[in-house]
């Protein structure tokens, strides 16, 4: 398993633990309120998206003989940006700082850029034998 995949999958597992713990908190008597959309995105972005990208980077057809997994810098960028964007979203929606709207704008831009990185990285490897 390549290094990028190991880090992406470890991150996915951490988000899965955070997501399920948040699920407990949502129904715990007297626990502080937590926005449901943020909870859903802990699963879909933190857990599922990281898992999908990590496994795709590992298993998709090779890009070339010289660079079987393509330019791995794009994968690293996608991983960093996706998780940074999700973290900023949690800060924006759960902690609700004074400049929450700005936080969410930055998070939205970073997460979209992460997806662009991952799609650009994986696209050349989606090919026939």
């Amino acid at each position: 398993m390549p290094t990028v995949t190991r880090w992406v999958l470890r991150t996915a597992l951490i988000w899965a633990a955070i997501a399920t713990a948040t699920g407990v908190m949502l129904v715990w008597p007297g626990a502080p309120a937590f926005p449901y959309p943020t909870y859903l995105h802990l699963f879909t972005v933190g857990w599922l998206s990281n898992l999908i990208f990590g496994v795709a980077h590992w298993m998709f057809p090779r890009a070339s003989a010289a660079k079987p997994r393509g330019d791995e810098r794009m994968a690293w960028a996608g991983w960093g940006l996706l998780n940074l964007g999700l973290f900023i979203r949690i800060v924006g929606e759960a902690i609700r700082p004074a400049d929450m709207d700005r936080c969410l704008l930055i998070s939205a831009a970073i997460q979209f850029l992460a997806v662009v990185c991952w799609v650009a990285h994986l696209w050349p490897r989606v090919k026939e034998r």
């Binding site: 398993m1 959309p37 879909t44 599922l48 999908i52 590992w58 298993m59 998709f60 057809p61 090779r62 003989a65 079987p68 997994r69 979203r89 929450m100 709207d101 700005r102 969410l104 704008l105 998070s107 939205a108 831009a109 997460q111 979209f112 997806v115 662009v116 799609v119 994986l122 696209w123 989606v126 090919k127 026939e128 034998r129």
Partner: protein, 139 residues
Amino acid sequence: MPTVSMWTVRAALLWLLGASALGALILARGALGHPELAGYILVHAEMMLVGWMMQLALGVAHWILPRGRGRDGRGRGWPIIVVVIALNVGVIAVIGGYPLVGRILEAAAVVGFAIQGAPRIKAAGWGATGKEGDLVKLK
């Protein structure tokens, strides 16, 4: 990766790009001064869950499930092409304001895929060959 899987995964990646762009706009609606963008949350969810995740799963499953007998061991080509078209038209119909038609097409696509793919769910054999760049060698 067979041709139909290639197109299915590419379509899934395009849905991911579109859904992410829409999701980003929805998330930034406060800063952009367009609170009405919240009305597109269900469209975003449909694109992500069916257009991206489900379609990716079907495309990869068609590629990687154990193969049976026949030309390439993945069964006849046309049923899976119909399944992929139905799924994509279904998503377009749902987000285009025809949810009943869209959901029927999506359900038909999944049932069609299950009927076509069920015989390949078995203990032995590989779908991807692991040779000639079809699947990166697993270590």
